[in-house]
């Protein structure tokens, strides 16, 4: 986990991903980012909801500024996590980016129907992967204007 920097207010990204390889790649991709990012990682849907609702062991965790959500997750599927986030008054404004291997049309349609903020597929190419992660964080954390009381 990335060290917190007190001077610049860091952003908190929650990565919901069960594949350690992807976790590591994401971490690698964010290493070069100009932002101070706290990447929090949970491995399944139940943990993800607990983190976002700051329940149990996540009580002390900060609210997430951005959620990177894989669709295929153990215990609780990514679509269900998405539905719960968007059905929750306190969480629904948090941008949720679906990051998945699936290019299936039905997955794309379904997640947008559940109000995903955007849908991206994981590229096979390393450079493209890094660029994708950086673009997402750059776009959602610096370009997009989100409500200040969004948390």
């Amino acid at each position: 986990m990335i060290q917190q920097d007190i001077a610049v207010k860091p952003v908190d990204i929650l990565l919901v991903e069960d594949n350690p390889g992807d976790v590591r790649l994401t971490q690698e991709a964010l290493k070069d980012a100009k932002l101070k990012i706290n990447l929090h990682v949970v491995n399944d849907g139940i943990e993800a909801m607990a983190f976002l609702r700051r329940e149990g062991k996540y009580a002390e965790k900060p609210p997430a500024d951005l959620v990177l959500l894989d669709l295929n997750l153990p215990k609780k599927d990514g679509r269900q996590v998405l539905a719960e986030i968007k059905g929750d008054c306190d969480l629904r404004r948090t941008p949720v980016v679906i990051v998945t291997t699936s290019k299936a049309e039905e997955d794309i349609v379904k997640t947008y129907d559940l109000h995903a903020n955007c849908y991206v597929t994981k590229p096979l190419d390393l450079d493209q992967f890094i660029m994708m992660v950086q673009s997402i964080s750059h776009f959602w954390l610096t370009i997009v204007k989100l409500p200040t009381d969004g948390r």
């Binding site: 594949n19 992807d22 790649l25 049309e105 096979l124």
Partner: protein, 651 residues
């Protein structure tokens, strides 16, 4: 009157008295004798008359007056002709004249005479000459007998005889009477005509002479029966003179006339009836043969649905005999499900029959699962049809069943296979879905980390290592393409959209737009006519056009690609064609190119070889076909059809 009579009598007896005149005793005797004759004359039933030579009555007794219906007074001096019908005059005159001239008495046959009131009577006359004292014939005397009653009875008898003969002769059959010796006593015309013997021949024949050899024993037995019991009937063959055998139904009766016993028989030719019966028996035999040997199960139930007849095949099917099945309740005959359906159908039949909504020759169909004696079950399919009387009223029901056990079991097996197939298909979809996610992750790991390795340790790797890393990465990419293509292919059948009206010109536009870069790079020219509207899945049709046109663009020869797209209505389907001037395809590969990942060309042309497989699968989903015509170096024409269908009329 009396004096006149006396005088007449004296005249009559004149010749007698002439010889004995003068003798008193004789006179007394004469008087006595005269008295006696007078009494006889007056009292006798026969008429006595005398006629003079002019034909006028000179004397008549009371009986003559009675015969002619007149009185003695008025009849005297009158001509006898008065009392004879005119047509008899000449014969009467001839007879009288003959007696008058010859003196020989004559007995006349009974003839008609007229009574005073004009009615006819029959009279029999005996005529004698009447002589004077000198023996000369001076007139006639006659004795007349009224034979009217006798004559009428005789006439009635003759009439009766003629009548009965006419009746007998006009009988439709033969009629004969034989005596106990078998001799023919009487027979009618028919009998003669049938057997063909003349009356003379018949005279010397016996009844059994006209009976067929094989029936003679029967004939003898029947004759005994008739003479003993009084009546009998039988069917027997008569042999004609020409040797032809004709079957007769004979009814015989014993008749006793006086001292003699006769047999009176009537017979009717039954050859037609027997022929009809034979034909009927034959036809019935055929039907029975058919019904009993048919593999169909024929049964008849009465109007209360009770089984009355069952073909042998029906007994064989379940092993239960007709008798056993008659007393089986429905739940013993068929499975509960079939029983329920049977009862529903029976209710429906009864209702429709009562409502009259049942058209005359309509039949009902039902499939039932029957219990067999060995504990197994068998499926049958039965057509039920009413048998109706002349008024159209249902009297029974004919059921024609068929053993469909094998078919049904095949169907069930097929159904199971279908379900298996469906499940396996679903599993395949599931697999495909899993593949799209789970197979790609490890691939990405391989690819990404090899690249990360390269990136991080760039300076420490020799040129070979960089090559190896490239191979690994491109292999992973290729693997990913294959997986994605396979997914697209598997989605054609399962992720298709409902059919809607689609404008193929727009489809073509979308497809060429997607191929814009490739078309531009190859300098391809695409010609097309107006394309029709079809009912289908737009996205998938775009894929078809895109894949086929994409191939045409990709596999071009030296010349820049020239592609011609057309559509023709043939029968009830649109035939689309995409013609190119590309490298062409050897006909031996026509089928292979539609198989998944089958490629004819190496790395010169990129692609996994899924395009045509997907295109054909889409066309098939639309109910069409896809094929091609091509020769290497001659370009190719791909054809595919899309059937005309109504909107919403899906696969």
């Amino acid at each position: 009157m009396r004096t006149k009579d006396e005088r007449k009598l004296k005249t009559v007896l004149g010749s007698v008295s002439a010889d004995i005149s003068g003798v008193k005793q004789l006179q007394e005797e004469l008087l006595k004798s005269e008295e006696k004759y007078r009494t006889i004359l007056e009292e006798m039933d026969e008429g006595y008359y005398e006629i003079d030579c002019k034909g006028n009555f000179t004397f008549i007794n009371e009986a003559v007056a009675r015969i002619f219906g007149g009185t003695r007074r008025e009849m005297l001096e009158m001509s006898y002709k008065q009392y004879i019908p005119q047509e008899n005059w000449s014969s009467t005159v001839a007879d009288y004249t003959s007696v008058f001239q010859t003196g020989i008495p004559k007995r006349r046959r009974p003839g008609v005479s007229l009574r005073k009131d004009g009615t006819k009577t029959y009279r029999e006359d005996s005529i004698f000459p009447l002589r004077n004292e000198k023996g000369e014939i001076i007139g006639l005397r006659g004795i007349a007998r009224d034979v009217t009653e006798q004559k009428l009875a005789e006439e009635a008898l003759i009439k009766e005889k003629l009548y009965s003969e006419a009746v007998i002769d006009s009988l439709p059959g033969i009629f004969y009477v034989i005596d106990t010796e078998g001799r023919f006593v009487r027979y009618n015309k028919n009998a003669m005509e049938v057997v063909g013997y003349s009356a003379e021949e018949a005279q010397n024949m016996r009844a059994w002479d006209i009976i067929a050899e094989e029936d003679k024993e029967l004939m003898a037995a029947k004759l005994i029966e008739v003479f003993r019991d009084g009546a009998a009937d039988t069917e027997i063959k008569v042999v004609t003179k020409a040797g032809k055998k004709i079957p007769f139904h004979i009814t015989a009766k014993r008749v006793i006339l006086g001292d003699h016993t006769y047999m009176l028989g009537t017979g009717i030719d039954i050859s037609k009836r027997l022929a009809a019966e034979r034909a009927r028996d034959e036809s019935e035999k055929n039907y029975r043969l058919l019904a009993e040997n048919t593999t169909d199960i024929i049964s008849i139930v009465d109007k209360d649905f009770n089984l009355v007849w069952l073909s042998a095949s029906g007994e064989k099917l379940t092993g239960f005999s007709l008798e056993e099945q008659k007393y089986m309740t429905l739940d013993k005959k068929v499975t509960p499900e079939s029983a329920r359906r049977s009862l529903d159908l029976i209710k429906r039949i009864i209702r429709e029959e009562m409502e009259g909504t049942f058209p005359p020759d309509r039949h009902y169909d039902i499939q039932s699962e029957l219990y067999c004696k060995d504990g197994s079950t068998k499926w049958t399919e039965t057509k039920m049809r009413f048998i109706r009387d002349n008024q159209g009223k249902a009297v029974s029901m004919l059921m024609q069943g068929r053993d469909i056990d094998e078919r049904k079991k095949t169907e069930d097996a097929l159904q199971k296979t279908m379900e298996d197939l469906k499940r396996s298909n679903e599993e395949l979809q599931q697999f495909a879905y899993v593949a799209s996610h789970d197979l790609q992750e490890p691939l990405r790991m391989v690819s990404s980390y090899v690249q990360l390795l390269e990136k991080r340790y760039k300076d420490k790797l020799d040129p070979d290592a960089h090559d190896f890393i490239d191979y690994a990465v491109s292999g992973a990419k290729r693997m990913q393409n294959l997986i994605n293509d396979l997914l697209s292919y598997s989605r054609v059948g399962t992720r298709g959209k409902p059919f809607m009206p689609v404008d193929c010109s727009e489809v073509l536009y979308a497809a060429t737009s997607n191929l814009e870069v490739a078309i531009r790079e190859a300098g391809a020219v695409i010609d097309h006519d107006d394309l029709p509207q079809v009912i289908g899945d737009e996205g998938q049709l775009i894929q078809v056009f895109q894949n086929v046109i994409g191939n045409a663009v990709k596999f071009h020869g030296e010349e820049p690609p020239r592609i011609c797209i057309d559509a023709k209505l043939v029968g009830d389907e649109w035939v689309f064609s995409v013609k190119d001037n590309g490298i062409g395809i050897d006909p031996q590969f026509f089928e292979r190119i539609f198989l998944v990942f089958q490629r004819l060309n190496g790395t010169d042309y990129p692609g996994t070889g899924i395009g045509l497989s997907i295109a054909r699968k889409v066309v098939q989903r639309h109910g069409g076909r896809m094929w091609l015509e091509s020769q290497p170096g001659q370009g190719s024409t791909f054809y595919f059809t899309v059937p005309i269908r109504e909107k919403g009329d899906n696969e």
